[in-house]
C-alpha cells in the first residue's frame, strides 16, 4: 500500500517541551483525514514535519513515497496555513499568480486555472481588487484558492474554514469531497467539530499522541456518544484522568 502521507514514529521537541511523542499517521489517495485536537496539541507541528519545514527528532516522514524534507516535492502539495499569508498590496489575481509561479505552474493556461480556483471559493468578482480591502472571510477564501492552484495531489489545509459563512463553508466542503473523489488526498485540521463529521477519518491528537484514529461514525460508536464533539470531550477527560 502506498500512502500519500506516511508518518512513522515521529517525535519532536522544542527545548524541553516534548510536542510530539511517537506519532504514526497515514493518508491514502482519495481520502480526507481530519486532524483534531486542542490548541497547542501539536497539529501545526505535524503539518510542518510533513511539509519538511521542521525536521523530526526521530522517526520518518514520507510524502508520495519520498522522504521529507524534499524541496521538489512541495510542488505536489497545496498548503494553506493558519494565517492568511497574503500580500495586501497586490490584487487577489496577482497573489494567486505569484504563488503559481513559485510552484512552477506552466504560464500557459494559468489565467484559466486562476479563474477556476477563484470560482471554487466564489471570489470571481473580487479577483482584480486589492487584498487590503478584503474582509476576513474573503482573505480566508483567497488563501484556500492559492492552495488549490495547480490541482495538487495532496492538500494540507490548516483551519481552512475559520471566518467563512455557513453557505460558503458548505460549498467548500462540497469541492473538497469532489477533489477527494477525483483521487486527491486531503489533510485538514479543524476546531469546528461538526466539520469533523464531514471527513473520512478523524485522528485525535492529544498530549503529543494520536489517541484515536478512525471513521467519525466508528469513533462515535466506540465512545458511545452521538457526535465527534462528545468524542473529543470524552477523550480529553480520559486523558486527564490518566
Amino acid at each position: 500500500m502506498t500512502y500519500t502521507i506516511e508518518l512513522q514514529q515521529v517525535a519532536k521537541s522544542f527545548g524541553n517541551q516534548k510536542v510530539l511523542k511517537d506519532i504514526d499517521l497515514n493518508l491514502k489517495q482519495g481520502e480526507i483525514l481530519g486532524l483534531i485536537g486542542p490548541s497547542g496539541a501539536g497539529k501545526s507541528t505535524v503539518i510542518n514535519i510533513a511539509l519538511g519545514v521542521e525536521q523530526a527528532d526521530s522517526g520518518q516522514a514520507n510524502i508520495l513515497n519520498q522522504t521529507m524534507p524534499n524541496r521538489q516535492l512541495l510542488a505536489e502539495i497545496g498548503y494553506m496555513a493558519q494565517s492568511d499569508a497574503l500580500y495586501e498590496a497586490l490584487t487577489a489575481y496577482e497573489n494567486v499568480a505569484f504563488f503559481a509561479e513559485m510552484k512552477g505552474i506552466n504560464k500557459q493556461g494559468l489565467d484559466q486555472e486562476i479563474k477556476r480556483v477563484a470560482d471554487i471559493v466564489s471570489l470571481g468578482d473580487a479577483l482584480y481588487k486589492n487584498v487590503a480591502g478584503f474582509s476576513g472571510g474573503m482573505k480566508r477564501r483567497l488563501s484556500l484558492a492559492i492552495a488549490l492552484i495547480g490541482n495538487p495531489r495532496l492538500l494540507v489545509l490548516d483551519e481552512p474554514t475559520v471566518g467563512i459563512d455557513p453557505a460558503l463553508r458548505r460549498q467548500i466542503w462540497h469541492e473538497l469531497h469532489k477533489m477527494r473523489d477525483a483521487g486527491h488526498a486531503i489533510l485538514v485540521t479543524t476546531h469546528v467539530m461538526d466539520e469533523a463529521e464531514l471527513v473520512d477519518r478523524v485522528a485525535l491528537l492529544l498530549g503529543g499522541r494520536i489517541i484515536a484514529n478512525d471513521a467519525p461514525k466508528k469513533l462515535e460508536a466506540a465512545y458511545g456518544v452521538p457526535t465527534i464533539e462528545d468524542v473529543f470531550l470524552k477523550a480529553e477527560e480520559e486523558e486527564s484522568n490518566d
Binding site: 524534507p69 521538489q72 496555513a81 499569508a85 500580500y87 497586490l90 509561479e101 512552477g104
Partner: protein, 366 residues
Amino acid sequence: MTRTWAIAKRTLTELLRDKRTLALMFLAPIVILALLNYAFSINATTSIKVGTVNVERSVQTNLADVKHVSTANYDNRSQATEALKDQKIDAVLVEKDGQDYDVLYANTDASKTAMTRAALSNAFTKDKTGKLVNALTQMSARLGIQNPAANGQFNLEENYNYGNKDTSFFASIMPIFMGFFVFLFVFLISGISLLKERTSGTLSRLLATPVKRSEIVYGYMMSYGLVAIIQTAIIVFFTIYVLKVEVVGSILNLFLINVLLALVALAFGLFISTLAKSEFQMMQFIPIVVVPQILFSGIIPLDSMASWARIFGDILPLKYAADAMSGVVLHGVSFGGIVPDLLALLIFLLVLVTANIIGLRRYRKV
C-alpha cells in the same frame, strides 16, 4: 531564474503601490541634501570682533585689515572683559608694554579662537615688517641705493583643483551622505519588507513551494538593486544640477559604488530583520547599525581617531563606499582606483548573502 524574477517583480509592485515609502526613498534624500547644503554654505563666513585695550595704533589697524575681523577699543581691561561676557566681542587684547601683550579668548567656538589667534599673529608680523620696511626705505634713501622692498608688488593667482572659491564644506561631505542615504533607506525598507513577509506568514507559504532559499534572496537583491539605481540617479542629478556640486570623476563609477553599497545594505537589512520581531524592533537597530557607520564614514577625519576606532571603522561597509565616492567626486579617481573599495564591499556582500541563504534554513530545512 523565473522565480527570482517573479519575486523581484512582486517586491517592486508592492513598493510602487506604497506611495509613502516611495516618497521616503526618493524625496527625503533630496530635501535633506538641500537642507545640508544650505546649512553648510552659511557656515562658510565666520567673523570675529576683537576688543583692544591700550593697543598701539598700527597693530590695531593691521588687525582690522584682516578679512572678517573687526576691532573695538576699550578704555580699560574690566570694560573689555565685561563686553566679552556679554558676547559682544570674541577676544580681548591688552598691551602691557611695547612688547608684551595679553589676550583673553571667549573660546566658546573653537573655530573663532583659532581664527583670532591667526589674525593676531598676522597683525603682529605685519606690524613688524611694516616697521622693517620703513627703516629699510630710510636707510636705502640715505645710502642712495634702490630699495628692494619698493617694487615688491606680489600677485597671487588662485586656482582650484576641485570646485571654485565658493566650494563649501558641503562638497566634501556630499559623497558620504549620498552613500549614507542609499544605505539607510535600502537597509530599512528591505529589512522591514522581509520582516513583514515573516510576520504575515507569507514567508512560510513561500517556503512551502519548491522555491530555493537563494532565489528568495536573489529576488530581493534584484528589486532593491533597481531601486538603488533610481535613488542614486535622483540624488546624483539633484546634487550636480541643482546644488551645483562638481563631480570630477565618472558618474558611472558613482552608480557602480552605490548599487554595490545598496546590495550590501539590502543583505544587511535582511540579515538584521531575522533578529527583530517587529517593525519597532527593526527601528531600534538604527542607532546600533546605522549611526556608527556615519560616524566612521569619514565625516570626522578617520586619521584623527585612535587606532582602535580606525580598526572599528574598517568593519563598516559605509566607510569603503564613502572612501570610493569621495575619491570619485573630489579627486576624479578612475575605476582602477576604486577597485580595492569595491572588493571590500563585494566581500561584505558575499558574506551577508551566504549568511542570509543559510539563515532561511530556520524556516525550512531544505
